[in-house]
């Protein structure tokens, strides 16, 4: 469903990604881990073209995202993204945050969008916050709203960019629960995270990124029990 071919990204002389190729199949839940500065966030942000790759090609199904003639907005409607800092629209209520995209892209009419938003909010237990503004929510609540805001567009794949890194430790659990539930429902996911427990339980495949390359790729069990790459071993020994 997603295919990446020799993806490179550099800022000036600073090479962040040095040629990543991979394929993500339907139904997969990919967890990307790696030390900070390794390029994992940049990789994720290239997947929906928030960062324009220096070279390389990316396909979603049969559409090439990196081609100039592609209608990016249309493809992005099928890819949800959750940010480290939530990025809820500060000037809109929770309800408007969720309905803005479906209504403005004419995916749903206002009434449908509202009903859909309300049922999504019920799913995460925040229906009573529909008329609140983002600043009135806790970090964990914001992030859960951010997740359903993306889900409101009924995406085919969800990208998570360190969704729990900016949260108080107490609130990490509630966000991971929503993500786990989402994974169980069969959503395709690519998650950049430092939550090893989540990676072990939810991932169908783990990618270890170091210095702009994918240096190891495996299912969670083999990855955590028998890491092959030295850099990977070192990383795991430090955090586990």
């Amino acid at each position: 469903m997603l295919r990446v071919e020799d993806l490179k990204k550099s800022y000036g002389n600073n090479k962040i990604l040095k040629g990543i190729s991979c394929e993500i199949k339907d139904g997969e839940k990919i967890v990307v881990i790696g030390p900070s500065g390794s390029g994992k966030s940049t990789f994720l942000r290239c997947l929906n073209m928030l960062e324009t790759p220096t070279s390389g090609r990316i396909w979603m199904d049969n559409d090439e995202l990196t081609s100039k003639s592609t209608d990016l907005t249309h493809i992005r409607q099928q890819m949800g993204m959750v940010f480290q800092h939530f990025n809820l629209f500060e000037n809109l209520t929770i309800m408007d945050n969720i309905t803005l995209a479906p209504v403005k892209t004419r995916k749903m009419n206002k009434l449908q969008a509202k009903e859909n938003a309300l049922s999504l909010l019920k799913r995460i237990g925040l229906a009573d916050k529909a008329d609140a503004y983002p600043s009135q929510l806790s970090g964990g609540q914001k992030q859960r709203v951010a997740i359903v805001r993306s889900l409101a567009m009924k995406p085919k794949v969800m990208l998570f960019d360190e969704p729990t890194s900016a949260l108080d430790p107490e609130m990490v659990g509630e966000v991971l629960d929503v993500m786990t539930e989402l994974a169980d429902s069969g959503m395709n996911m690519v998650v950049v995270t430092h939550e090893m427990g989540f990676a072990r339980n939810v991932a169908s495949r783990i990618m270890f990124v170091d210095d702009g390359n994918i240096v190891e790729e495996n299912d969670p069990e083999s990855f955590f029990e028998h890491p092959q790459n030295d850099r990977c071993k070192e990383f795991l020994s430090k955090i586990l």
Binding site: M79, N87, K104, Y133
Partner: protein
């Protein structure tokens, strides 16, 4: 003591009451307000356009022609005194016009536009970059994100400074006497040269300016509070 009071009363009478002079102040005030309101509206329109022209380059990170025009405009306007701009407008550019108010409105509108453009740029750039990224990631068009998310927040950021610019503009119109308009300042000056007693007319004009500006300040304060209730940040 009695002498002082008597003299005070006399001065007050000759400054405000004799020949119904208070009407002159009132008309002067109306002229001032007419100019400042129209100029503020024009400034807001010009400022918005210039601001977008100015920001047109940041996306592609290269100099566009609208950007260059905007930067030059802001440079020239901010780099010259508004009195000179007014005189150039009156004696050179709109030489054939006899409508002083129109000339003043255009001149101050152009002047204010440069400042408004910079204020709005500040307001827009202060909006978190993540807001635009969120819009992008949801597949909303840039136009929609800017219209419904960025600009409302930018406006809220810029509002206090915009109100400040309005007050500055109001006081700056005190120079329209240069193009023979009878605004509040000029009227009080004329009356003091008639009565040979500058104290009352000048203090009176200052008091009127102060009260008017105080009223606007209170009004703007209410507006700001209402905005921050709607957009709790």
């Amino acid at each position: 003591m009695e002498q002082v009071l008597l003299e005070f009363k006399e001065q007050f009478t000759s400054a405000f009451i004799t020949e119904d002079r208070w009407k002159l102040y009132f008309q002067g005030l109306l002229t001032t307000i007419e100019i400042v309101l129209l100029a503020a509206i024009l400034g807001l329109v010009i400022g918005t356009v210039i601001c977008f022209m100015n920001l047109s380059s940041s996306k592609a990170k290269k100099c566009t022609i609208p950007h260059l025009i905007a930067v030059t405009y802001i440079d020239i306007i901010r780099g010259t005194p508004s009195v000179i701009q007014l005189l150039i407008m009156w004696f050179i550019i709109m030489k054939s016009s006899t409508n002083g108010v129109l000339v003043a409105v255009i001149s101050f509108g152009i002047n204010s536009g440069a400042y408004v453009a910079e204020i709005m740029r500040g307001g827009i750039q202060a909006v978190n970059k993540g807001q635009l990224e969120a819009g992008d990631s949801l597949g909303i068009s840039r136009f929609t994100t800017i219209r419904y998310v960025i600009l409302p927040q930018a406006f809220k950021n810029a509002l206090p400074t915009l109100c400040n610019e309005f007050i500055t503009l109001l006081k700056e119109t005190a120079i329209v006497g240069y193009v023979s308009l009878s605004d509040l300042t000029r009227v009080s000056n004329q009356i003091s040269s008639r009565t040979y007693e500058p104290f009352m007319p000048l203090i009176g004009a200052a008091a009127i300016y102060f009260v008017i500006i105080k009223m606007f300040t209170i009004l703007f304060g209410k507006l700001e509070r209402r905005m921050s209730q709607n957009v709790a940040c």
